[in-house]
Every structure is written in structure tokens, then in C-alpha cells.
Symmetry: D2
């Protein structure tokens, strides 16, 4: 089939009929929704970039499942250290190109976690989950499917485990077993992507302790508009701007999806056919899949946040130039600190990848070094907040108080803004405004 | 006349005709503008609280200018160390009550800076600016005027001083001297409050170096709807939410004005009568007034941010309880760190006040210790970012991804949200959602 | 009697016969002991400075117990906020003058803690401990006694309380009650000063929980060479230098006592007459005295470490000048950071003092604000380590690797050192070497 | 010849006659000098470990110069990425085994810097320095020589470059050119090792700017007891302990050399024969060699400090157990922080190695990624100070105030110390004392 273009991905969304709510209303057309449309544009771009021969080595990879055909790197489990290292370069590259979350990392995390765990279950129990998984992987690779990963349950009282919650639905679980499949109920929180993706893989988010947790040990894949699934979209300050301002007010108008598409995802007795079920009751293996998916999440954060910090560093450097203070010693020292933060996290991201090891040996899967990735994730969070603080410091108050581009376009106020928001005459006012938006 | 009520303040706004633009349109009625209306509610509340006998000692003070009549503490220069100490308690109290910037500190900064500097000019030059200032102070005290302070110019190229800018208007300056007053031109950046206040005092934001900087050494008071003044409002992510969400989505719906009301304020040849002019060409004194106003700004940041951090600490503690993890050791240790941050800044805020000294002696004005206030301001910024990070850590992902209250009210989705956004059953879902909003 | 001179204090030591061990030998003459002699010189200087009329207001205070006679500030409980504030200035001043711990703060902590607690016990139990304490205070004030404070027990297993330790002696306790007094046994750890002081006051270091802890609730005063007391001196790297190097190698040769005089202090069945016993079994009050003494300790750390940091800042600034790099931007920025650290701690030290309150009201004692002092102590420790790091950064490798002054005096090597350890020709080589020693 | 044993290395020292001064006296026998003897023991151990077949792969490497014979890894330039990665493992391993600086890294830095730069000079100028270097390398590899690296000059006024110093000798330079060699004069500061090594390589420490800096662009190898060389040893607090305490007081008695052996190294007109001269006047290449040697230094710091932090973490964990508080939440959280610090630095150390690249291509030399190594070095310094602070926090006051083992051995005080310095009864008092020493 070959790699899909962004346009083909968008086309595929038109056929879906997901049940989405936002701001108190049902969303009929995701393609025209103020927030979702830019998220969709971001994902579309990841498809287009992967088709670009210049990035073939970085963004695609040979799949042994398809006899060596090149597939999108997001759809391929890690079989070698080189896969891990290239993976880190891939995500840094995409974050830099898109200036935004690429929205596809959860899917890649899933294919690795599921492979490792199905292998382990099969070894221990004589089941054949890995074969089912391979079939599904061939399907998503062959049709270049945009698949996401759902792990995090709403979780209810954090001090209680799934089977001890007052409401048994706080973690997704099997409510019925039929000959040809299972029926699941529950809700996944803060899910990035499924509302605009084609398929999603679902795994538990809590360790199993005993048989009582059996129904909660459930993993499967499902089309994202399956009957019984409802999405209630997040709405935060960042999203709000998409409704009120001009496109340029978004900082990164074309692909600024950011994290702006998470939703509360409800499974109201959804049927999953056996061939898409990868775990159904094996509570002894929940811990392993939760741990590996956690590792995957830390791996991508550690790989993409450095790029976000680099972006902020570049933006701050540009803002300093726009303000006319690029050479001040304290500005240079702050930019230097920002570089220390991004390079600490990035150095650790690569280090964990280079230290990759088979896990478990025999499975074929290679995972990054876990201690290094944990430290890297910690540093990437710490560094990110520091970079935000420093970028705001460098940019000055305008990053907070810049008026909308709608005022810039209004003839009554355009002149004032053009004149008075100019600083360094070498930098056009509009550019200065845009960089301030980006830092905001 | 006595102290005004919030309602009286709001009434006074109806008579004003300021020239305000926002999101590409003229704002006809500030009272109904989604962002300004909550800012106005905040200010109104500062009037009502001052009338409350319970807070008389904290929020009002005897004015020697009005023969001992009690006036709002915001309108009274610092004459004693007790004024400084009570001032810090006042701002901490208001930040706690309002959960928001009180929007009136710039005005208080002005009355001190102007008093000190006009005293110095009069001593050196035999002018009578302090008498004019006293007249204006009596006026604002007697009528309990909401007055703000405008200092920060748009500044153009930061490496060049006012008289060397390519565009001479980048700093506000005198363009014409008439027998009965002066005419000024320029723009003030990021101004909090004047668009919804009664009067504003204006001072320079750059040191004077020689005669060429004379026209830029200008200070005065002016009604905020004076002919020639135009406001272009900021528009950022926080403001945007006021348009799209439900009131409860604002975190602090009643008085959440926050910093949401700054505007770019343009002076297009505005006439100021002599009796309101407090400096007009004495460039040798710009440095002093800039320095003292800076000191005032650091003083209030150091006084109000600790309260903001306390608010975040309380919110995070509540969120932890709502999540059911209030007793976890790492949560308690994070809350402890948040307390260290707020109390460091607050301890320094008080320390600087207690160490207050006459400045210059003879002027009557008492200023806080400058080294301590600088350190305090530094700590309050550092601590504020740390507290934001920690509060987000504690609250979890929902602080970012909570859906709108409009979805909560929508009967189609209300049930799902009620059920699935519940955590600790002792805390109602709606309360959990609201605290997440506040932390956001 | 009046204030003693340093010489009089030293004279008084000649009459004492304490039982001290160091480096495997008994110490016969404290005055000639390489480590103790410099500690003694430091203490002597605190006596001399207090006699200097220039510092009368700072270092002495009117004692109501002696009808208003001026006594050393170290011997006087806090009765007013002014006592607290002056106290902080006193300790900062001494640390600056001596470049070393003044070694007398524990004594001052004791007079406050004991006053507060004896007052509380007397109120609750009808005892007369406060009267005894007043008698002792009059004695030490009248004869200007150097008295120290012993609190910290060796403590054994930190997870067990006194009465539950495998060895009952891990906390000092009453082993016998006689009609005219009590007999105590145990050991106090890391005691600064008693080996070279005249008297010491002793209090518990653990909260009492029930009757079983009764014998551990014991407080008293005792001459420091009382029969049954043995001292085993610490020996660490700093002390070692006193044996090997030249005086100038000590960094601060004249009064560099630093912390170099702590000892493990053993009470081998020591008899205490009733008139010096201030608590004997009232386990309900151990917690209070432990808490208040802890507050006192944090108060002095918060007052003296800023001065230590200022000293390091000055030394680092001098080293930078000696190296010829005083104007480098990164050096200035590091010195600036050091100032932020010292002034944060110092601002909080003063703040806690200014916020002082009666505790409990009626007792006459005024204590600093506890939250502020805790935060101040935390900041002073954090800042101190940062300042050490920064000072080493600024000084360069020589701070670690400078040869001894013995080599500087050796004619065979003097010439090389004079020539090659010269940097900025405006600063003599010897001065550069000395400042490097100080920073070390 | 094969690898030397520690004993053979020590034997070789007996034949040397270096000119060393310490504490004002000439050192006649390095083997019996209190400080040098433990440093020598450390180095001897590096020889013995390398002969251990268990560590062959880690500590030795095939030398292409000797036709594939295995030589000590310290003597072999980096030709592959694997050399870089193993190098980091080597230094971490040694630091862990020795609990101390291995004292041989400067030598390894030299062989890389010299190879790279002589290659570049030969390419540009047609000289044959690299051939000379290879001859010398064969010599040190064949005889398994302990060679060190001298770079840092005393430098005089830091603001002036070599040829502009008031005293021309502040940087080592050529004072005479003879047909068969050169004569050099100057002094190297803070040199670790040469006083107890066999050979040393010397390079400049300042960039050359023009012909005037020519004489300062000089590199060579020289036996460390060559005529004209004098050493004046450092003397600091750590060294002092070697004179006064018992061996066990040193924390790490057997191989605790630490940094305790630096000396000021004077070159008083030393003659160097041509075959050992690797640079003599090519000022355009000083910058390159300084930069690469700096990179080497950062590389080893980044590799060994993590091990030092791990050591501190282990020691602190043991101290917590000895104190009976190993399970306290705040202790565990501090140990966790220490691990974050060591693993950040170690992760970056490896990352820089894995990212190694030919430099310049053609030279055969592979260097670690420079940005990553810089960030790693920064983190290792930052982390090291934090770990010191945290280890002291965890260990408690005894780490500072523990008496000497001489008192522990003294029968008069042994009983008291045995009894009262016991804490957790499961840990012998002597072990608790020793771990406190180590942390000190
Ligand atoms: C929410 C908000 C409310 C505000 N309310 C008011 C108000 O009510 N009244 C009022 O007067 N102002 C107000 N301000 C403006 C505020 O005073 C300024 O934002 C602040 O002083 C910084 O100025 P700036 O934004 O122009 O930053 P800039 O001056 O552009 O500073 C950006 C960076 O450049 C550096 N820099 C600037 N100049 C130089 C130089 N010459 N050399 C080296 N480095 C330099 C700065 O250190 C900083 O790191 C408000 C600002 C905000 C964000
Ligand atoms: C923008 C965004 C996008 C996301 N996208 C996805 C996605 O695509 N797929 C997906 O599966 N998930 C996604 N998530 C969810 C994410 O995985 C979770 O937010 C994260 O794992 C934390 O879980 P939580 O939000 O429930 O926090 P909580 O679990 O409520 O944690 C809050 C605090 O409580 C503490 N805590 C929690 N439980 C305990 C306990 N038992 N004992 C002690 N302390 C405890 C935590 O340490 C934390 O400090 C996303 C989140 C965000 C913010
Ligand atoms: C224990 C130890 C062992 C050592 N072992 C060796 C060894 O084996 N071989 C060896 O060659 N060296 C060795 N060194 C020396 C080491 O390389 C130097 O200490 C280090 O490079 C710093 O140089 P410095 O001590 O002269 O500091 P300085 O150069 O004096 O630096 C002090 C401060 O001044 C600043 N500064 C210096 N110059 C300038 C300038 N021009 N402009 C602005 N700021 C400036 C620095 O940034 C720093 O903050 C050792 C050092 C130590 C501490
Ligand atoms: C230079 C110096 C001078 C001194 N001078 C005096 C003096 O003059 N007079 C005096 O009375 N004292 C003095 N001290 C002792 C000082 O008060 C103690 O060192 C300090 O209170 C800490 O006690 P510790 O050393 O026993 O540490 P520990 O109590 O052993 O503490 C070590 C670690 O264990 C933790 N810990 C301890 N107990 C528990 C527990 N139950 N649960 C959980 N965690 C725990 C602590 O938080 C700490 O992190 C001095 C100390 C020093 C270093």
C-alpha cells in the first residue's frame, strides 16, 4: 500500500463517525473544529514528512513483518539499538519541524509494550497473543494507519486499587465474555489523539495484585469511532485562544496542535472481537505492561522536550534581538542556561537509547536504559519550567500583554501597533509580535 | 466625602468615555466586556472591603492631608515604618481575598515616588511641584478615586536612550509647552488598570542623561478618558477563556481579573493643565523617580506573590485530598517546599518594611530597605515558578485536560463527567473540577 | 563586678581542671593545645569587644535582674523585640569581626529556653524552678561567666525514644535522687565550647511521652570541670591543619576557632546540687524546651551564616582581584548570586526578630517568629553550600592546592613561590596566598 | 615487556631523585612521606588491577603501535567510539575501586591532545612531530610507564596573555634553542602526579595570538626527575590529617590519595632533547591543543565524579542505617536525589562517548561530543556539591565532630567511645565511625 499522504489521512477522517462533545455541544465535523483542525493539520504533516525522500532514513524503517517494506517509524517496534537512537532523533526532528507535539508517540509506545508483554504471556501461559498482535501490526503498517495508545484510566480514589474502588468502573474492565469477543466498560482520562485517529490500542494503567484484578487486565485494539465510545474534549486557556484570536495569535498557527486535543474517552460497553484482544484476565502481567509503557512515555518526553526547549531558546534569542538587547551579558548567560537544560535532557535521551538492551531476551524487543531514562525525564521536566521562566524573562512583559492580531489588522489601531510595538528597527513589528506569541 | 462603595465606583465608570479597542473592535461598554467586567468586579471589591469596619485598620489609614480623616491605604504615602509593614499585610490580605491582583498598587507606588521626587526637585530648583501634588492627593483622597500609575514606555530599541531612538515617540515626551499646560505624546506599554480607573499618574521610565532627555522627564496626573488617549487591550490565553468557557471555567470567576486588563496606552498629543504637572524637563531627577518606582514595584510583588503562592499551596493541598493522596510522603514534601517558597518571599517582604528609612530625610517619606526588597522580589519570582510546577505535579494531568463546565451542564455528558471525574468520594466532582481550574 | 576582659577569661581557665582527651592523649594545658588555643583566643576577643565603648549598645544590654547594670548580651534573656533584633546584629557583627563562630550562642539559647520552660512548669506544677534559674542568671551575669549550652545527646538508635533504647544511657538521665541534689549519667555529642568554658547549662534533647521518660527530663547548670565529666575532642581535617601548618595556613589564624572545639562530653554519674536543677522528671515539658532550644539554634544560624557568606563573598571578590579578573561579567554575576544568598538569609533573620511575640504571654520572654526562622535556617544552609561552591569557582584551583606558609618561609623555595604565585601585580603574593587559605 | 605490577612501579620510584619540598622541608623519600605514600599506593593499585585478567577488557586495550599487544588503557589514544565508551567505564570502575582519583587521567588526555595537534601541525607545516610522538608512545606503552600531563601554567594576571605579562615566565616558554633541543622555563600550577610519576608530557595552557606568543607554544615529554625541575607540594586540610590522625582517620586509608598530591612544579631552565619535543613555536596550534586537553579534562571529570557521587550515596545510605533511620521517607528522598545527580552526570558521560566523532577526520583520533561533555561536566560539579550537602545532612553532626581513632585506641577513652558512639546496635561502633570519616 505504501505510505499515506497527509491528505489521505484527512480523507480517512471523513468516513469516521466518532461521538465527540466540546463546550457543551456535539462536534459534527472534526475538520472544522477550531481546536481539532490544527491538531489534524499537525498529524497530516507527520504523514507528509515521512513521504519526503530527504527524511526517509529518519522517519521510516524497514519492517520485517512486511518483508522489509519501509513503514512509518511510528508503527515499528524497537528491534535494535539503532532503532532506539533513530527514534530519539525522529522525535526531536518532528518537534522542531512542527513546533508541537507530534501526537503519535503513544501509538509507538503501545506496539513495544504489547509485543514485550504478549511474548511474556505466551511464554508463560501458552497463549497466542503475539500472533494476534503481529496480525494487527501488519494491518496498521500495510495501511499506514494513525494509531494512538490509551492507558491512563480516570482512576478514582488514588489510594485504592481497581477492584477496591467504590465504583467498579473507575478502571476499564471486562464486563462480559462472549465466544467471539469481550465487552469492556470504563473511561480513559486525558487521551491525546484518539478523537482524530483511526485506531487505538488500549492497555491497563494499574498493577494487578490477585484474581480480583483479573477483569482489569485487558488490552486490545479498536477503531476509534467504534460504537459505545464517547469523547468529551478538554478545554483550557490554550484551546480558548483558538476560538477568539486570529490564527497568528496561536503562536504556531499551522501546526500548533500542542496538547490541545486530549479528551475524556468513555467506553460504554464496547465489544472487542477476539482477534483484536491481546490480554484478557492475565493480571500477573499488568505490572509489566504498565512499567514498559511508562518507560516508553518517559523516553518520548526525554526526546521531545529538549527540542521544545531548543525552540524556546531560539525564540528567546530572537526576542532579545527584536528588543535590541541580544548582546547583553545577562541575556547571553540566560540563553546559555537554557542550552544547558535542553542539552542535559537530550544527552540523557540519547544515552538511554545507546545503552539499550533486549527485554526480555528472546522477545526481540530492545528497550532503553531505565535509570537513565528516568533521570532524563526528571531533567526534562525541571529544565522545561526553567526554560519557560527564562524565556519570559528575556522576552519582557510583551509576551504576556501583546494585543491580538485582530487589533493589528483593524485599520483604527494598526498604525499605533505598527509604530509602538516596534523595537529594534531591523526586526519588523509583526515578527516581534509573533515571537512574543510563541513564547506566551 | 468618605470611602466609596464598589457600586459607587462602578457607577463612576458609566460616566467615562474611554477609547478602548479589543480583538479588532471598539469596546463600547466596559461593564459588559467579558474580560474587563471581572477586572472591574475585583476593583469594586477592594472598595467594599475597605468600608468593612473589620478591616479598617488594615485597609484604611489616617491622612494628615485631610486632617486625620481615614482614607483608603492605597491613596496614602508612606510616612512611617508602620505604614510600610501594614502595607505588606494589606496586599497579602487582598491577594488572599480576591485570589487575584488587586490592580491598585501602581497608584500607591506613584504617590510615594512623586512625593519623594517633587520634594527633591523643589529643594534643588525652588519649584513648587510638591504643593501641586498635595492638591491632587487631597482630591483623590477626598473623592476616594481609583487612580493607577503609568510608567513603562514602549521603549523601542532597548540599547538606545529616549533622545537617541529613531522614532522620538518611543518614550512619552512633551511636544508642546503652552502657558497653561503641556502637550504630551508617546505610548505606555502593558498598563494594568487605567482603562477601568478614574485617574492615572504618569512618570518617565528612563534615566535622563543630559538636556536632550529633558522633554522625556515629564510627570503628571490625568483623567483616564482624557481626549487623545487610546487603549488597545492585551489578548492572551487567560483572557480567551473568558469568551469561550462557562464562568466556573475561569478558576476564580467572581474576582479573577488577574492581570487580564493591561493595555497598550497611547497618548496622541494629550493636553495636561499646569496644576497636574509634577515634572517637566528636570532630566536630572528622572533616575530618582524611576528607581523609587522600581522599588515600589518590587515591594508589591514581594508582598502579593507570597499570597499567590499560599493560594496555590492551598489549592494543591485540596487537589491532593480530592485525588485521595493527601497523606503521601512525596505530596507532603512538595507542599512543604511550596511553603518554603512563599514564606521566604513573605519574610523578606516584611523584613524590608521593618527596616524602612526616611528617604531623603526631610521629605517625610519612608522607604523599605532596597537590598532586601530586591532579594525578596528575586525570590518571589523564583518561588512562583517553582510553586506552579509543584502545584501541577500534585494536581495531576486533569489540571491541564479538564473539560469545560459547559460539558458538565450538558445533559448528554453530565452523567459521564459526574461519574468519571470523581476521585476521593468525600470530595464532590464539581469541587474537584473547580480546584483543577484554579490550578490551571 | 563589671565585664571581664579577654585576659581575665583566660586567667579563669588556668584554675579549671577539666578532663580532656585528644588524639589519644590527655590534654594537660588547654591554653597551649594547637586547636583549643585559637578557640580560646576567639572567645577572649568576644569579651574584649564587649568592653569596647564603641560596641556597648550592640554587645551589652541592661539587665533587670541586676537592677539595670549592663551585662554581656549573651547572658540576657529576650524580653523585647528590640532584644531580638539587636541580637541578630550582635551575632552578625561578631562573625564578621572574628571570621569564626563566636562559640557563645548555645549559652544564650539556654537562658531563653530555660526561662520559658521553668515559667511554664512553675505555672502548671507550683514548683519554683524559675527562681533558681534567676539566681543562677544573676551569678553568671554578675561574674560575666562564659557559659555554654548542652542539649544534643548521643541518641543511639534514632528510631527509638530514650526509655526504649537497648542502652539506657544513650540519653542523659537521672540515675539517683538525693535530698540535696541529683546524679546524672549519659553523654552529650558534638558540644561546642564546654571544654573551654566556665559553666554549662544542660537540657534534654528528646520529647517526653510518658512517665518512663521522666528520668530523661532533666535540666541543670554545672561547672564545666565538675567531677565525673570527661571530654573527647573531635578531630577533623580542619583541626589537623593546626598541627602541621604555619599559623597563616589556618586562613584566620588569630580567631579561627571555627567549630574546631566540639567534644563528646561524658557525664559519668555527676552530682548536681538542687539549687542548680531546673527540671527533674517533668517529662511533659521536655518537648517545649527542645522546641524552643531548636528555635534558638535556628535563630543563631540564620544570624551568623549570612555573615559567613558575606565573608566568603568578600574573600572571593578579593581573590578575583588578586587573579586579575575582578571585572569579568561571569565573576560579577557569581558575586551577585552570593549576595542574594547571604541577604536572603539575613533578611529572614531580621524578619523573624521583628515579628517576635511573647511566649507564652506572661513569661516575659519574647521569641522570634518560628515559621520565618525555620525558612531562614533552611535558606542559610542552602546558601552556605552555594557560596562555598561559588567562592571556589571564583578563586580557582589554588584555593585547594596552595603550598604551606612553611614553604613560603623556607629560603630554598621562598623565591619560587613569591615569583610564581603572584598574579595581579597590584596584590602582594602573600595576600593572595592568605585569601586562598581563607576560602579553603 | 608486558604490564608492570604495582610493586614494579614502586620499585621504579626508588631510582628517581626528584627535587620535592613540603611543609618547609625537602622530601627525601617519597615512599615514606605521609601524604605521598598513600597516593603512591593508589597508583600502584591501578597497575595491579590492570594485570588482573578479570579486568583485562576494561583496563587494557590492543595497541596498533605495538602490533596489537595489550597495553594499559591509560596509554592508548582513542581510535574508536568503543575506546571512548570503555574509557568512561574504566574511570568509573577505578574511582569505585579506589575511592579516590586514579591520578593517571592527565596522561591519557595528553596522548590524545598531542596526537591530534601534532597531526594538524604536520599537515599544515610539513613537520614530523607525530612520528616523534609515536616513538614516545611506543616507549611508554612498551615499558608501561606512569606518565602524567602538565598543562596549567601559574598564569599571573588572568587578564593578560603570556607575552604581555609583566614577568615573562608566568607561562612556560622556550628560553633557548640549541641544535639538539630546547631549554624551557616557567612553572605549572596544581600538578597532580608528576612528583610520583615516571614521565610527564607538557603542553601550553593559553591560546596563541601572534608571533609574540611563539615561545609559549611548546610541548614535550620529560622524565619527572629531570635536572632543573622542582616540586613544592600543596598542603591543605585533607593532607594535614595524614600527619596527625590514625590511618583509619583518613576515611579511605589504603588508597585515599585523593587529590592530595598536587604540587607547584618549577621548570628552571630545563633542557629537552629534540626527539621529545612535539611543538616548538607553532602558536597557531596552541588554541587547538588547549581546547582538546580541556575536552579531555571535562571527559574524565564527567566519568569519575559520578562514581564519587555513587560512593557518597552508598556511604550516606550506610550512615543512615548505622543511625537507625534508613527507612525514613526524607532520607530515602535524599538518597534518591543523590542518585539523580550521579546518574545525570554518568548518563551524559556515556552519551558524549557514544556520540564520538573523528577529529579531525584523517587523524585517526575520535573525540567525544563537545557540547554534551561540557554539559556533563557542569552537571557533575553541581551534583557533587549537592551530594556533599546531602551526605552531610543524612550522616548528622558526627561526620564533622567524630574524635580520632587514636582516642578510640586509647584505653582511657575506648570504652566511652565504644559505648556512646554506638547507634543502631546492628552496626558496630567502629564501622559507624569509619563511614563518618569517609563522608567527612
Ligand atoms: C501583567 C503586567 C502588568 C503590568 N502593569 C504595568 C503597569 O500597570 N504600569 C507600568 O508602568 N508597567 C506595567 N507593566 C510593565 C512592566 O513594568 C514591564 O513589563 C517590565 O518593567 C519589563 O519591561 P519590558 O516588558 O519592556 O521588558 P524589556 O525591557 O524588553 O526586557 C526584556 C529583557 O531585556 C532586558 N533588557 C532590557 N533593556 C536592556 C538593556 N538596556 N540592557 C540589557 N538588557 C536589557 C531585560 O533585563 C529583560 O531580560 C506590566 C507588565 C506586565 C507583564
Ligand atoms: C496533555 C496530556 C496528554 C496526555 N495524553 C495521554 C495519552 O495519550 N494516553 C494516556 O494514556 N494518558 C495520557 N495522559 C495522562 C497521563 O498519563 C497522566 O496525566 C499521568 O500519568 C498522571 O496521571 P493523573 O493525571 O491521573 O495524575 P494523578 O495520578 O492524580 O497524580 C497526581 C499526583 O498524585 C500522586 N499520586 C497518584 N497516585 C498516588 C498514590 N497511589 N500514592 C501516592 N501518590 C500518588 C502523583 O504522584 C501526583 O503527584 C495525558 C496527560 C496530559 C496532561
Ligand atoms: C586538585 C587539582 C588538581 C589539578 N591537577 C592538574 C593537573 O594534573 N594538570 C594540570 O595541568 N592542571 C591541574 N590542575 C589545575 C586546573 O587545571 C586549574 O585549577 C583549572 O584549570 C583552573 O585554573 P586556575 O586554578 O588557574 O583558576 P583561574 O584561572 O585563576 O580561575 C579562577 C576564576 O577566574 C576566572 N577567570 C580566569 N581567567 C579569566 C579571564 N581571562 N577572564 C575572565 N575570567 C577568568 C575563572 O573562570 C574562574 O572563575 C589541578 C587543579 C586542582 C584543583
Ligand atoms: C560543629 C557542631 C557543633 C555543635 N555544637 C553543639 C552544641 O554546642 N550543643 C549541642 O547541644 N549540640 C551541638 N551540636 C549537635 C547538633 O545539635 C546536632 O549535630 C544536630 O542536632 C543533629 O543531630 P545528630 O548529629 O545527632 O544527627 P542525627 O540525629 O543522627 O541525624 C542524621 C539524619 O538522620 C535524620 N534523623 C534523625 N533522627 C530521625 C528520626 N527519628 N526519624 C527520621 N529521621 C531522623 C536527621 O533528619 C538527619 O537527616 C553541634 C553539631 C556540630 C556539627
Amino acid at each position: 500500500m505504501g505510505l499515506r499522504s497527509g491528505a489521505e489521512y484527512i480523507e480517512s477522517l471523513k468516513k469516521r463517525k466518532p461521538n465527540i462533545y466540546c463546550l457543551g455541544k456535539k462536534v459534527d465535523n472534526v475538520l472544522e473544529h477550531p481546536v481539532l483542525k490544527s491538531t489534524i493539520a499537525t498529524v497530516a504533516r507527520t504523514f507528509d514528512l515521512a513521504k519526503n525522500p530527504k527524511y526517509e532514513d529518519l522517519l521510516t524503517v524497514e519492517s520485517p513483518l512486511l518483508g522489509g517494506e519501509r513503514v512509518n517509524r511510528f508503527l515499528q517496534p524497537f528491534f535494535t539499538v539503532d532503532h532506539l537512537v533513530k527514534r530519539q532523533h525522529q522525535i526531536r526532528f518532528l518537534q522542531r519541524q512542527l513546533g508541537s507535539c507530534a501526537l503519535r508517540c503513544t501509538g509507538l509506545g503501545m506496539v513495544n509494550s504489547l509485543w514485550e508483554t504478549t511474548y511474556q504471556i505466551d511464554e508463560a501461559k501458552g497463549t497466542h497473543y503475539l500472533d494476534r498482535l503481529k496480525d494487527w501490526l501488519k494491518y496498521i503498517q500495510r495501511y499506514d494507519i494513525y494509531e494512538t495508545g490509551c492507558m491512563m484510566d480516570v482512576k478514582g480514589h488514588r489510594g485504592l486499587r481497581p477492584s477496591k474502588q467504590p465504583d467498579p468502573d473507575m478502571y476499564l474492565h471486562i464486563v462480559e465474555r462472549r465466544p467471539n469477543g469481550i465487552v469492556v466498560r470504563g473511561a480513559k482520562a486525558s487521551q491525546s489523539g484518539p478523537a482524530i485517529s483511526n485506531e487505538t490500542a488500549v492497555i491497563p494503567s494499574a498493577y494487578g495484585h490477585d484474581e480480583a484484578d483479573g477483569p482489569y487486565a485487558v488490552a486490545f485494539a479498536v477503531p476509534t469511532d467504534e460504537k459505545g465510545i464517547t469523547y468529551i474534549m478538554q478545554h483550557n486557556t490554550g484551546d480558548a485562544l483558538a476560538y477568539t484570536g486570529d490564527d497568528r495569535d496561536l503562536g504556531n498557527p499551522r501546526y500548533g496542535g500542542g496538547f490541545g486535543s486530549t479528551s475524556l474517552m468513555i467506553f460504554d460497553d464496547v465489544f472487542i472481537p477476539n482477534e483484536r484482544v491481546f490480554m484478557a484476565g492475565e493480571w500477573e502481567f499488568s505490572a509489566a505492561i504498565v512499567r514498559t509503557m511508562g518507560l516508553m512515555a518517559r523516553m518520548w518526553q526525554c526526546g521531545c522536550r529538549p527540542a521544545l526547549m531548543e525552540l524556546l531558546t531560539g525564540a528567546a534569542a530572537f526576542a532579545a534581538q527584536a528588543n535590541g538587547v541580544a548582546n547583553a551579558a545577562h541575556i547571553r548567560s540566560k540563553l546559555n542556561d537554557m542550552t544547558i537544560h535542553s542539552q542535559t535532557a537530550w544527552g540523557l535521551a540519547l544515552s538511554a537509547a545507546y545503552q539499550g538492551k533486549s527485554s526480555p531476551s528472546g522477545s526481540g524487543i530492545v528497550l532503553p536504559d531505565s535509570l537513565t531514562i528516568n533521570v532524563g525525564k526528571y531533567r526534562s521536566v525541571e529544565g522545561y519550567w526553567e526554560c519557560c521562566k527564562l524565556a519570559n524573562d528575556i522576552a519582557g512583559g510583551l509576551a504576556t500583554t501583546v494585543p491580538s492580531f485582530k487589533d493589528y489588522d483593524n485599520p483604527e489601531t494598526h498604525g499605533w501597533m505598527e509604530k509602538y510595538l516596534q523595537a529594534n528597527p531591523d526586526v519588523p513589528t509583526e515578527h516581534r509580535m509573533r515571537i512574543m506569541r510563541l513564547i506566551q
